[in-house]
């Protein structure tokens, strides 16, 4: 495990392992008692239409900066020990991992709050866009958060 691979905030083409991310997080402190994770996955249905493929695009540098801001604010505002945020870009199949938030804390309460806040904030502030391929063709998804 290189530190590059396990930087706490990443946007990457490759899939990630939830177990590996959690184990990397555990190394931060022996005082972690609770870890809440949220994993977003590609689902087949969207507004009643069958999706065959997803594709994510991001604004390089700005997206990473926003994720780092979310991570730092989560640690500061919710009293968790640490957080990692990973978002994939490029083509993604149904059932595949898209985004992972890992919130680690001494107790469980703050990790739930921080994790739920972070994924909502990611959706609100991070320049990442989704294109869905359905039988009607390809469309950029522009649902408001």
């Amino acid at each position: 495990m290189s530190t590059t691979t396990f930087s706490k905030v990443r946007i990457q083409l490759e899939d990630f392992s939830v177990t590996d991310e959690i184990e990397a997080m555990k190394k931060v402190s022996r005082n972690i008692g609770g870890i809440t994770t949220f994993l977003g996955t590609g689902r087949e249905l969207s507004k009643g239409e069958n999706i065959s493929k997803l594709n994510f695009e991001h604004y390089p540098k700005m997206a990473e900066k926003k994720l780092e801001e979310i991570r730092e604010k989560a640690i500061k505002d919710y009293g968790i020990i640490d957080m990692s945020i990973i978002h994939r870009i490029g083509p993604i199949d149904i059932g595949e991992n898209i985004v992972l938030i890992v919130a680690a804390g001494e107790h469980r309460k703050e990790t739930f709050v921080a994790c739920e806040w972070a994924i909502a904030e990611l959706k609100r502030t991070t320049p990442i866009w989704k294109r869905e391929t359905t039988s009607s063709g390809e469309v950029w998804v522009q649902d408001t958060p």
């Binding site: 700005m62 985004v99 990611l122 959706k123 502030t125 320049p127 990442i128 866009w129 522009q142 649902d143």
Partner: protein, 84 residues
């Protein structure tokens, strides 16, 4: 010279991903929308009608933001990362 970037659905509307413009003096976003309208009128209209988000040097911009030589201006449709 300033750099303009178009993301996601806006690439088709602007018919490009990126372009470079020379500006002599700092300009407002309104003035920038006029310049853009010359080659991509629909894109210029969307900027004036506030149908896109705009960032300057990777920070979200407002209508008051002044663009200076060397800035990177990006036009961003509503985000859809993460999941519902």
């Amino acid at each position: 010279m300033i750099t303009l970037k178009y993301f996601a659905s806006l690439k088709a509307i602007a018919d490009k991903e990126e372009e470079h413009l020379d500006i002599e003096n700092p300009i407002t976003i309104d003035q920038l929308s006029d310049i853009i309208s010359e080659t991509a009128p629909k894109m210029g209209a969307m900027i004036r009608e506030k149908k896109v988000l705009i960032s300057v040097n990777q920070e979200m911009a407002s209508v008051e933001t002044i663009i200076h030589d060397g800035d990177e201006v990006a036009f961003l449709p509503p985000f859809s990362g993460g999941t519902k």
